[in-house]
Symmetry: C2
Subunit: 148 residues, 2 copies
DNA sequence: TATTGTTATACTCTATAACTATA
DNA sequence: TATAGTTATAGAGTATAACAATA
């Protein structure tokens, strides 16, 4: 079954596309693009992160972080604050509006996901989640081996 | 377990990201961006498509198709040919170089997928493929109900 | 010297709107 | 009138490279 893996890749791409095309419009109503949602989510999990660390966590260039943070800051969702121990760096914090955005994101993710996965049985959903987690674990390992 | 669906959405996003970040660089070496790969693949499955039909199949605007086709045509991978029955329209065909690109795409997808999913057992991989297919079936149904 | 974050610049992908040529 | 595809224009997201300030 040598084409199994190829098929998996295609399925993963197709599933992602189906999922995001449903969600993009809903998030867009609140000015929440995928890149902004990802940065806010990571920042919420790791408060007071430096921009450099966010770039690493998100797997993008430092330049990309500047753009997204500029946009989020001008929308009042995050704030740059000087790093006490390193005057080159900024610490990012979520404003109250940013925390509200986090709530809205969680709510939207919940509702959209419920809608979108409602056609699958509970068992299939939990199996799918388990297998995706297993996949992510293996890629994280191979990433570590391949620091490039 | 009301957060199961939310978790699934996040996992799907993360898995897609892990997958594409591995593949993007490899495809990029051949000038094959995601949008170009998708168009070539759809065109290969539906030869002599009109641009309008490609836009619908890919779920993007007509404008986006013009850009991608311009790029592919200037790289010599596709050709615009007049539609015999409708002088407003073009039929797209893959050139020999385009067919070679299709072969390269298949080969790369195969190799990358093998690498990336090699950490999972054969059983987990086939289960994951089955569940992704099940998910895609349900979204295709709900798309049909929601022609928007 | 190395690192943090910025500015400068450019590319891909996408969108809407106005337009031309046809249907 | 409606449709196929284009040009004009714009915006998000990303990248590399050169730079400033700091480590």
């Amino acid at each position: 079954m040598s084409s199994g893996a190829t098929e998996l890749g295609r399925l993963l791409m197709a599933a992602h596309r189906a999922f995001t095309q449903q969600g993009r419009a809903r998030f867009g109503e609140y000015g929440l693009s995928p890149a902004r949602v990802r940065l806010l989510t990571v920042l919420h999990r790791s408060p007071d992160s430096r921009m450099r660390d966010l770039a690493d966590a998100l797997g993008v260039s430092g330049r990309a972080i500047t753009s997204v943070v500029d946009a989020l800051e001008s929308d009042g969702l995050v704030e740059r604050k000087p790093d006490a121990g390193d005057r080159r760096a900024f610490r990012l914090t979520l404003t109250d509006a940013g925390l509200s955005a986090i709530d809205r994101i969680a709510d939207l993710q919940h509702r959209i996901s419920e809608e979108i996965f409602s056609g699958m049985s509970a068992e299939d959903r939990s199996d799918l989640a388990r297998l995706l987690r297993a996949y992510l674990d293996t890629t994280r390992d191979s990433d570590a081996e391949r620091p490039a």
